[in-house]
Symmetry: C2
Subunit: 712 residues, 2 copies
């Protein structure tokens, strides 16, 4: 990211001076509400209402034009009818405003793309960046700037929200406040005519107030940029995503609503995992996670403990831990040592630790302080079931103290508190204090699980990009020749040439023009071999008697050579015979399919699955965006449900997974480096035992003239 | 269910007179709290505190013994130390009390099974039924009886809760009140020494106040009884279940906590689906569903509509509809006709219907009244995103009116309302009025989805039980012979005999003792055939040259006959040869595995999956409890992920699914009727094209002496 862009986006969030073009005294106008919110929000910079009628607005002198203001304007917000927007942009350009929000709708989202393009062109030539159009505005805690037209005020805090839906964004402002989730920023992205998620992520990752980023996405336009920005972001801060349009019908609805393609949900999902992004299914789940991630430390290790006063919720939490990938400490001696003092004899120090229904707040305090102090424990799940005897008044102080003890020790703790009015009151007060507490076991565990997923991503993540040596020049020349032929696909022989240039093993094959050559080739390839007539004039080679299978020795090769020639001549006397192909017989093995293509949203992606019925019926395939490294490819393979087949089942040996990984990296390198290729599908790839490699039997490759500037 | 039992359980929920044995003036005693709660709950019957010290308790005259009371006692609750309980039970028996709750813990849950058995024996001989021990008591709205020791009062309503966890039950009393979920009953089941879930379901299904039943289950003891009771219940009322111990570790925790086996979660899950039970993952989901099912009608048809003021939440709801199996109306003309008047030109009458962010409460009222009136719509999802301009004060009345319009029309409507404080207030008031509203799209759709799942179960459900004709006597004699041999398994030939007796096709095979016979058998079976030496003295037939495959004509059979005899004699000169087996060569087809066994929790169950790797690696198998009918077996097959292989993929013909269904019913009939069989596994069953049947190639059967009285 260059310095200048960074600065411009900073002026969006931290402007020293701010103009509202369309500020109005009329409270039914959006421009009025924005100006009012900026005032009410306590914006710390210099503020200029711009209104053609001049005068005074809410106590501030209004200017007829931004150009009349005798000050450098860091940011302008435009809230005037669509037809006047271009003029305002031109005015901002002349004034040298670096950052502009366009609230106004009525542009590309309703098909009015021309006007939007003109605006972008004007802004670009003036070095101005634009957020919007068709947005509800922006809130930034750093500069106490609420330039949204929301009816409710924003609660400041540490969660930044980027939303593609304006209506949902406005609703989230209210909802987060009710749920005590403070925001560091909320930005609506609208039509993304200029600035998009990637630009804003690059700012938010460096902004101190933001601890978690929540994104609501309906469609992705420039996915490759987004992937890179997400990777840069998740290296430092957790990102939670809600992506709608995951169902077929939902995708259609999203397309008609935002004009952007939702794309394949499978691919989106795989790429988010690859980028370390936490995908939530709905608002509630996303908020639960954000609340937790904004307020607690990530666990340093895998050893989690459950402390409960009820066996039932303990079991529910144990189930949920398995579902959300949380490992429970199993060292009975340590558990006994740490929790023994807090556990009555009829309780249990096994994990879940059951301090029994008789536990009061002091008992809980004792039990929950222990894991904060213990070197053998990394995370705590604290469960409470309302009892008739618990001293509810002490609930909130107990939770607060044990939460703080965990924070001080750098450990996460997640609370589930189930009960009636008295605990409800305690929870409300804890939430006001910013302590994440949940009213359901499932939510508490899911939130700690999100922290673990993110932590595991950080642990395993590696920036290293691996590409395999391929002869890209040779591949390029094959493509150019085929394109010059007017074809959009490669012939089988060209596909083989690409495989060879990439160093992917294919079955051996040579074309013989004499019996001596045929025998020589067969012996060098090794028996058994297959022989096929080579002739453009004979399409159905088998029908013509032009194929002989499973030839096991010299005599059979000689006989087959003569028979094939004879058959071919009998079948079509005037056929031009270019020789006889001698091919290796591919031994049976485990069949894989490996593919790569350019996705409309995310650019080059690779795909892998076990061949045949597994792919077709079970849809057992996995995806990844590029670039990749060996570790990520291994993770990808492990996501295949039929992966155990590669590891060897029923006493079979482990397959040559290293070579499979290498081949996937080679395919990835081809699609990255050879822009003329749009699709590769190798099916089947027959994989043998460890050390014995694989054979790419059939490679189908589609090509196209690469668009100028498509890949900078 | 017999009349008498029905009456006894009624006295548990609707006692006309009620005694608290262990009532106390000491507020730290459980007996005090129960008596206080009964009084505070406004119990309508005659109430008797029993306390050895006599005197007066909370204004009621206390009796030293229940036998001193000069009244017929319908129910007694016992809350005294464990060592005195048997005495109290004896006293109740003498008094002729028909129903008793034992609150006291310290029995089988801590290994003290002897005392519990004595209590049961005493009760049984007196015709008395017992709830507990180790419970928190019971609440019944019908008689305003709160005999729990909960610290909070119960909110009366229409959801009945049966819980295996006492602590969670107490917490749920508080939590349901906070969530405005009224209860018709809440019962803790404790050790289930006598009464269990099945007994209570049979009462609740006939109780008017109960509209939905929520069960929290940790382990199932008498699953066959439970299955029958659940089926009887779901025929009239929805049942929601939370089952913990679904993970391996959770199951272990549950076992140590309740002493009952959690069993395989896969099987539990399959059986709940089969019984029409809605399984929720956590408390929150269960409460959301109950709230909805208790308050709205089931949809009459599939045509659901989404009405929204925000495109984003509309898309999220569309996604969730697909996930939860809700079909959206797609008739654009009808949608336009019905919603046109309420939709501005820049909105959309497509489904989701977008009435745009400008909609106020009047617009919503117009839009949401429309589907209630329309004959073309069956269910409505109403979504609202807080806007800056909405008249929030009118939110609650608008929702109330449109909800009532839907109720009057017999249609369900589910609301998701997302926003800040003002809508939060409206929601709180709506919830107090018992109107189900949700603060997340996902919850609203999930709840309507639960209603749809239940409705679809009711539509497809059929009481009919189908069994296939099998020769049970013949099977029984095979089993008896093997048991007499001291074996716990059947030999291959015995397995074949069982298959034949059940009418399941197996590959043909006959034992020849001469060349003439061998040829005759081969010709009657049809070529090709396989031949094998029959001799107890030759274990490894192939090594001995005792097997010949793929024999295609008379000459080959004659040659093989002679060769096998010669080889066998050469291999082991003193071997006794009992003949040569002539077997059908099984043609390749789609391989299935069908099994049946007696599950520890649920009794006889059947299993099916696609054979080989699908079962071993992909764990692609499904389960059902018995009895079954063809329709249920078809549903079972459809749950197999690789089911498309049976329907025919890659241009293959559909397989003989009818015969597969018949075979599964036959296997089910065998395990139901032949109590000596504990396990059947037929693997593979080779299935051919429609009309061409199948071959059960290998049947492995385990047997055991059937326990007396195990199957009444």
């Amino acid at each position: 990211m260059n310095r200048k862009q960074d600065d411009t986006i900073r002026r969006l969030f931290e402007p020293k001076s701010f103009a509202v073009i369309g500020a109005s005294r009329n409270p039914t106008k959006i421009g009025h509400n924005i100006f009012k919110n900026v005032l009410a929000g306590g914006y710390k910079g210099r503020l200029y209402p711009i209104s053609p009628s001049g005068g005074e607005i809410l106590g501030h002198r209004a200017y007829a034009s931004i150009e009349e203001v005798d000050d450098q304007i860091d940011q302008a917000t435009i809230a005037i009818p669509a037809k006047f927007v271009l003029e305002a942009i031109e005015s901002c350009a002349r004034k040298g405003v670096p950052a502009v929000q366009i609230i106004t709708s009525g542009f590309s989202e309703v098909g009015n793309t021309g006007a939007e393009q003109q605006i972008v062109a004007t802004a670009r030539s003036a070095g101005m960046r634009i957020l919007g159009p068709n947005i509800f505005g922006l809130y930034s805690a750093t500069s106490s700037l609420n330039s949204t037209f929301s009816g409710t005020s924003v609660m400041p805090g540490n969660v930044a929200i980027l939303t593609q839906s304006g209506a949902l964004g406005i609703a989230m402002i209210g909802k987060t406040a009710v749920d005590n989730i403070g925001l560091s920023a909320i930005v609506s992205l609208g039509n993304k005519c200029d600035l998009d998620e990637a630009d804003l992520l690059d700012y938010l990752v460096s902004q101190d107030e933001t601890r978690v980023i929540l994104m609501y996405i309906e469609g992705v336009k420039n996915g490759e940029r987004l992937i890179e920005a997400l990777k840069r972001t998740t290296a430092y801060k957790p990102v939670v995503v809600i992506k709608s349009g995951r169902s077929k019908r939902g995708a259609m609805a999203a397309a008609s609503h935002t004009g952007s393609l939702a794309g394949s949900d499978e691919i989106f999902d795989a790429i988010m995992r690859q980028c370390g992004v936490l995908r939530a299914e709905g608002l509630e789940e996303a908020f639960n996670w954000c609340k937790f991630l904004a307020r607690t430390r990530l666990p340093a290790g895998d050893r989690a403990v459950i402390v409960t006063n009820g066996g039932g919720v303990g079991v529910m939490a144990t189930d949920a831990c398995e579902k959300f990938g949380i490992e429970l400490l199993d060292d009975q001696e340590t558990l006994k040592e740490v929790f023994g003092p807090a556990t009555p004899s009829f309780g249990s120090t096994k994990n879940p630790v059951d301090i029994t229904g008789g536990a009061n707040s002091a008992d809980y305090h004792l039990a929950l302080s222990a894991p904060a102090r213990s070197d053998s424990m990394d995370a705590t799940l604290a469960l409470y079931c309302d009892t008739a005897t618990f001293d509810s008044d002490n609930m909130a102080p107990m939770v607060k103290k044990t939460y703080e003890a965990h924070c001080a020790a750098g450990k996460p703790i997640s609370y589930a508190i189930i009960g009636g009015e008295s605990v409800e009151k305690a929870m409300a007060s804890l939430q006001r204090d910013g302590i994440p507490v949940y009213s359901d076991v499932y939510q508490a565990v899911s939130s700690l699980g999100a922290a673990y997923r993110y932590k595991n991503y950080l642990r395993e993540q590696s920036d290293e990009v691996e590409e395999d040596e391929i002869d890209a020049a040779a591949i390029e020349s094959v493509i150019q020749k085929a394109l010059a032929d007017g074809r959009s696909f490669l012939l089988a022989s060209e596909g083989s040439a690409v495989m060879r240039a990439a160093g992917i093993t294919i079955p051996q094959s040579r074309i013989a023009n004499s019996i001596t050559e045929a025998v020589g080739f067969a012996e060098s390839i090794g028996y058994p071999v297959v022989m096929k007539v080579v002739s453009r004039d004979i399409l159905h080679k088998s029908d013509a008697g032009g194929v002989a299978l499973n030839l096991e020795n010299k005599t059979e090769v000689i006989d087959a050579y003569e028979a094939i020639l004879q058959n071919a001549k009998a079948y079509k006397p005037d056929a031009v015979i270019n020789g006889i192909e001698i091919c290796e017989m591919v031994k049976p093995g485990t069949e894989l399919i490996v593919g790569a293509r350019r996705d409309a949203s995310f650019g080059p992606i690779v795909m892998c699955g076990l061949g045949g019925i597994y792919v077709e019926v079970m849809r057992d395939v996995v995806f990844r965006a590029l670039p990749l490294n060996r570790r990520e490819v291994m993770r990808m393979l492990k996501e295949i449900r039929s992966f155990p087949l590669l590891m060897g089942v029923r006493g079979e040996a482990r397959k040559d997974i290293d070579t499979v990984i290498g081949t996937i990296l080679k395919v990835a390198t081809i699609i990255r480096r050879c822009s003329g290729i749009t699709d590769i599908e190798i099916n089947p790839i027959v994989v043998y035992e460890q050390g014995k490699g694989l054979k790419a039997v059939d490679a189908r490759i589609l090509i196209a003239h690469s668009r100028e500037g498509h890949h900078e």
